[in-house]
Amino acid sequence: MSDNTIPVAEAALRPGAWGFRLAMAAAGAGVVVLVASVAAVLVRGVAVWGNNIPHVWGFDLIAYAWWIGIANAASLFAAVLVLRRHGLRTAVNRFAEAAALAAILAAAAYPILHLGRPWLFLWTLPYPAYTGLWPQFGSPLVWDFWGIMSHVVVTSLFWFIGLIPDLASMRDRAARHGRMRAARAYGILALGWRGSVAHWHRHQAAYRLVAALVLPLLLWAQTVVALEFATTLVPAWHQARLPLHVVVTGLPSGLGVVLALAAVLRQALSLERYVDERDMDLLARLLASAGLAAGMAYAHELLVGFLEEDPTTRDALAARVFGGGAPAYCGAVLLSAVLPQLLWLGALRTRTLIVVPVGVLAAAGVWLDRWSIVVGGLLRDHMPAVGPEYAPSVAEWGLLGGSVALFAMVLLLFGRLVPAVSMFETRHEESETEAEREER
């Protein structure tokens, strides 16, 4: 093992600093809130939420779509880096993969929790039940099951395959420090990695293969979420463009979260050398580009929406954009599309105090966009409004805050127990740089 990777491994195995403990305590408190919120919904039913008729979906689907958006953009980012053998992958793609995994786990909880009878979620799985009944394969909710399951499997695989050589490094380091239990645990996960050329060859092939798998799946998962809405008769949802809209407007959240995470971790774990200014600069540019793409999606929505022939659809869009849904819609446009444009200014891109809030606010903006679709989309339906407006309850806020805390906790534990920056790639890159120098 080269000396260069020692600080990285040290960072993972270092006993927790006070900042880490504080963050863990806060995240732990949040997870307690999450447990309470989940218990509330399981014991007392969906009635603890603010849903009603017609707002049968609210925070549940908003958060679901939002978390998937984060997971997608993060995985997409990591996969693109792997496939393009971009230098940045040496630094931040591990963060991105971890964020994606945590987000997809947070997302996967919602479709189950939001059921009226969550313990029967198995009925959406195709298995030969004694009742002789199968799921209805025409329902987007069944597609959704396939989408989220594929997402979980592929994201986990992607993350895990990338981690194998590093797990082997951790194994060796732990063994050298005489911590045999930890070494064994890392060893099992490292799948007998010995670092032979054959291992490296297969690893690279597998890693790229899974990365290539990630790309269509990401579109698929987000598309299926969108199809749950697009296949209904609700005028604001019944749009062929909705899948594209949801995929594109979801990008700033994942990139924003990855950018903010990179900025925070690089300071918290003193990894400036490994996640350097150029990496941050590139990430920030990507976020700005995603914001631009989202902005174009919004422009397309308005253009196409108001050219629509059906007056109900036009009214629905007007209500969502200018009427009661205006605050969420405008917030979404401002935070996820307009605000990231700040990052085109080079001076701002490398400032932690700028990029962290911009990244987080971009994610918040995407959340508002999901609200605007799920809640705002029902402001004008075919029938006049039959129920009161949707107002989320404490249990729903608890679930959202709690799942954010769980996300944070998973990332914190990740940074604590496994190397956040991929050691092998950093090393690999350095050796290449050295070789180049020697060539000159």
Binding site: H55, G116, P384
Partner: protein
């Protein structure tokens, strides 16, 4: 009290005589004896529970297949009272429990339809908060103590000829009760009988006396009328006989003899909503308007001239001549009623019947109660029997009835529940429910009926007014014996047993009263002084609680009021313009003041309400009577003047700065024309759309294909269908919080739309059950196949398979699916539930099934008889309840069925048909009011 008296069907029960008391009737009961008596009464109660129903009625229809006694179903014809007058019902029982009420087709006040109050009677019968124990000073006491107290009262009263004895009842149309009261008054010549009905139309009584010298009932015949002017009258909504009037009105309309309905009123009523012309009329203008119309009609004997810009409608009445009629509402003053009588006389109207008043002693009720109150204040009353009414709540607060009641030494309250009045009375006796006691009463047209118990009594200690009064007379009889005695006398010369059996079977015990022929008296017109300027308080019965008397009915509380859509309470209703003028927004709390009395209420706009007037619905703010009714809304009786007047100028209104919005099922006030409700000109037709092409092949229906058609021209928004559905399908009550959260469970809702200017919009109602779409959007989105198309085209919901994704509701454009946010099974699993409809657990969707259990029942009945199902054999609950027969249900595969006929009507359309859902429930367009006289 040696042996508990056993009751049997043939022996009249012998109540324990006071002499049987070991400690003597005169002294206080010893503690030990009291314990013994309590034990004995408990044993009696237990016995009562095991016994066969002692005084059961006659089943109207024998059960088709009685498997055993407990599962047997039986239907009984009986009557229920509203405002003291009868509506005939048929009660369906299952295993001895009354589970559903339907209208009695043979009864003139029902013709097979029901109203919301009749539907809810099943719920009040099984109400756990009913009073079940005889109480003295609030504590349960054994029944012999009551008998002893009555005997004591009798001994006190006999020597002084009953001086100090007063009886207070509600409006009495019962021949038996009237006879027994007459016997009491004969035995105690110094005693007096008072009546109290907070919703009484005293103006009608006085107006009739002014016009003809005697109280009478004006019964319109809307099936023949060509022009009807309603002066604040609501013949389709709250007038006695409203079910009949609604049927008559729609019959004429269907036959192309549309009566031109002109309604002049301050606050919109359901008749106003269906009027061909509605004239918003401030209460101060009511008399000038009536006078103006009378003058234009050339009524003779007018004491003063009157003008009103809208009086030109007189021409329409004149054109209709004897086919025109003028109706004055219960809230109008005597002068308006007298003017209405004079106008009818002038028109020579032949489309109304002037009948003797169906009440046993018609009188102005407010005056009757005021006389009692002043006698109580003067301490002239020593013994007061309150038989039914609840004056401590619904007497005008200005009368001071509560304070006066405390001055009476012996007060006995007979009531179905422990209410505001019973709390002030020394004695409280539970009153049997109408469905568990014998009695009789008259319908709006005088048709008498015998009321028979349809179930074993659920409150063993309950005693009816006749039993109490006869005990006071010292000759106790059972209610059944008293009713039989009355009818033995009435039917003298006929075979009593045959007549009795026939009366019980048909639910009618005679014909309507014979019309009177009366001449207008001299000096009938006594103009009232003009109303002073200022904001006017207009009291009105709350359409959901009927003045508070039905406030304990959770079904009624949760039912959105037809025009305001308010549930679980009431609000000060006013014109949107008045609200804006006062700088208020809907739901702001205001302090209402009248003659120094104040009350806090939320304000609420009602399009079509006249400005300068605030409608105060009577029936909110109950202080006792059970948790369902207590504290819902505000108590408008607290403002009512001592005269019991319906309108009173001088109302002050001040914002408190707080907000207490009422719970509404519709928080949106926007007036916008929607395509859901369509209308055509008279005789017009809608363009019939061509069927959209579909990628999906049609479903084959070799057998039946059920469908429903709802005639929006017939719908009057009375809510009977919604409540019938709730009763039939075990639909839970969710409470005000859940309603405000948008979680009401009604399978059938009645949407109300306003069109046009908010000063006087046209309003229409649209019942919306499940559409049972041919291409149901809910079906393909369900991941677990929980909602499916069945072989007869029903869109069925498999509760057991549902996992609660709620996607189906998302994709239902009609939003008719309901989700079980909470587990309501415990509240529903009472004897009142319909055993044929399963209860749904938490977390599953539910919706209208087209009463699939009724379809299954009819199918198996037909199969047993080896024949095909006939059209009309399956009647859904909503269809059965509808007074205007707006709902048609049947087989679309049968070209001769009524529903197929409705589908061929030019007015037929599918709601949101452009979505391609091809609903099975379709509508017939409303026929728009044409402003020109026809």
């Amino acid at each position: 009290m040696s042996a508990p008296p056993r009751r049997g069907p043939d022996s009249t029960p012998e109540p324990p005589q006071p002499a049987a008391l070991a400690a003597g009737a005169h002294g206080p009961v010893e503690r030990r004896d009291a314990l013994l008596l309590v034990g004995a009464s408990l044993a009696l109660a237990a016995l009562g529970g095991c016994d066969e129903a002692p005084e059961h009625g006659h089943p109207l229809h024998a059960p088709a297949r009685a498997v055993d006694g407990a599962a047997a179903s039986a239907d009984y014809a009986t009557v229920l009272e509203l405002d003291g007058l009868a509506r005939g019902v048929v009660v369906r029982t299952r295993g001895g429990h009354a589970v559903k009420l339907e209208g009695n087709p043979a009864h003139p006040a029902s013709l097979g339809a029901t109203d919301i109050f009749a539907e809810a009677a099943v719920l009040s019968l099984h109400d756990p908060h009913r009073s079940r124990r005889i109480r003295r000073d609030g504590r349960p006491v054994p029944r012999p103590m009551l008998d002893a107290a009555l005997a004591g009262a009798r001994e006190e009263l006999v020597p002084r000829d009953g001086r100090g004895l007063r009886i207070l009842t509600g409006p009495v149309s019962s021949p038996t009760l009237a006879r027994v009261i007459g016997e009491v008054l004969a035995a105690f010549p110094e005693a007096a009988w008072h009546q109290h009905d907070p919703l009484a139309g005293d103006g009608a009584q006085e107006g009739a006396v002014r016009a003809f010298g005697q109280p009478l009932a004006v019964v319109p015949d809307l099936s023949r009328a060509r022009a009807v002017l309603c002066l604040g009258a609501d013949p389709l909504g709250d007038m006695p006989g409203h079910l009949r009037h609604a049927r008559d009105w729609i019959t004429a309309r269907r036959d192309g003899r549309r009566a031109r309905l002109i309604v002049a009123e301050a606050a919109p009523s359901i008749t106003g909503a269906r009027a061909d012309r509605r004239i918003p009329l401030h209460p101060a203008e009511a008399e000038p308007f009536a006078r103006g119309v009378a003058q234009a009609l050339g009524v003779e004997g007018l004491a003063a001239a009157g003008t009103h810009p809208a009086a030109e409608i007189a021409a329409e009445l004149m054109a209709a001549g004897p086919d025109a009629l003028v109706l004055a509402g219960r809230r109008e003053g005597a002068t308006v009623h007298a003017l209405a009588h004079a106008m009818n006389a002038r028109l020579g109207s032949t489309v109304l019947r002037t009948l003797p008043h169906p009440l046993a002693r018609p009188e102005p009720m407010a005056a009757s109660l005021a006389a009692l109150a002043s006698a109580m204040v003067a301490e002239e009353v020593t013994h007061l029997l309150i038989l039914g009414p609840n004056p401590a709540y619904d007497a005008p607060a200005a009368l001071g009835f509560e304070a006066a009641l405390r001055r009476v030494p012996f007060v006995l309250h007979l009531g179905a529940r422990q209410d505001e009045t019973s709390r002030l009375c020394a004695w409280h006796v539970p009153m049997p429910h109408e469905l568990e006691a014998w009695g009789d009463c008259r319908a709006f047209d005088g048709t008498p009926s015998i009321r028979q118990p349809v179930t074993a009594t659920l409150a063993d200690e309950a005693r009816g007014p006749v039993e109490l009064l006869s005990a006071l007379l010292g000759a106790p009889v059972t209610a059944r014996a008293a009713v039989e005695a009355t009818w033995r006398a009435i039917w003298a010369g006929r075979d009593f047993d045959a007549a009795w059996a026939e009366a019980l079977e048909t639910g009618v015990a005679g014909g309507a009263a014979v019309p009177l022929s009366l001449q207008l008296r001299e000096g009938w017109d006594q103009p009232s002084p003009p109303m002073p300027a200022g904001l006017v308080a207009a009291f009105a019965p709350d359409p959901g609680t009927h003045g508070g008397a039905e406030a304990h009915e959770a079904w009624l509380q949760e039912l959105p009021r037809p025009l305001t859509k308010i549930t679980w309470g009431n609000a000060a209703l006013m014109a949107p313009a008045t609200l804006a003028e006062l700088g208020l927004s809907p739901g702001d709390e205001v302090e209402l003041g009248l003659e120094g009395r104040t009350v806090l209420a939320p304000c609420w706009p009602v399009p079509g309400h006249v400005p300068g007037c605030v409608t105060l619905p009577l029936g909110g703010g109950r202080r006792a009577g059970g948790p369902v009714g207590e504290g819902r809304g505000f108590d408008a009786y607290a403002l009512r003047p001592a005269s019991g007047a319906w309108t009173m100028p001088g109302l002050s209104l001040r914002s408190t700065g707080r907000r207490t919005p009422p719970v509404t099922a519709d928080s949106h006030h926007q007036i916008d024309p929607v395509e859901a409700v369509r209308s055509v000109k008279p005789g017009g037709a809608l363009p019939q759309p061509t069927r959209d092409a579909s990628l999906h092949p049609d479903w084959p229906y070799p057998g039946h294909a059920w469908g429903m058609a709802i005639d929006l021209d017939a719908c009057i928004g009375c809510n009977a269908c919604a409540l019938a559905c709730q009763a039939e399908n075990n639909v839970p009550v969710v409470g005000p919080l859940a309603v405000s959260q948008g979680r009401a469970m009604h399978w059938l809702r009645v949407d109300r739309y306003h069109h046009g200017a908010e000063e006087n919009p046209a309003s229409s109602f649209q019942p919306v059950p499940c559409m049972h779409c041919e291409q149901a959007p809910c079906e393909p989105v369900c991941p677990v196949n929980a909602t499916l198309h069945d072989h007869e085209g029903l869109n069925v919901m498999v509760h057991a398979r549902c996992i609660g994704t709620r996607t189906c509701s998302n994709n239902c454009p009609y939003k008719v699916r309901r989700f079980n946010w909470a587990d309501h099974r415990r509240s529903l699993d009472t004897p009142a539930r319909n055993p044929e409809v399963s209860l749904r657990p938490r977390g599953v969707m539910e919706k209208c099934t087209y009463c699939s259990h009724r379809i299954a029942g009819a199918r198996s009945a037909a199969a047993n008889e080896g024949r095909a199902l006939q059209d009309g054999e399956v009647e859904t609950a909503c269809q059965r309840a509808c007074p205007t027969r707006a709902i048609t249900f049947g087989d679309l595969n049968d070209p001769g069925s009524a529903v197929s006929g409705a589908r061929r009507d030019g007015r037929h359309y599918a709601m949101l048909g452009q979505l391609g859902t091809r609903p099975r429930t379709t509508y017939l367009a409303r026929v728009a009011a044409d402003e020109e006289p026809s």
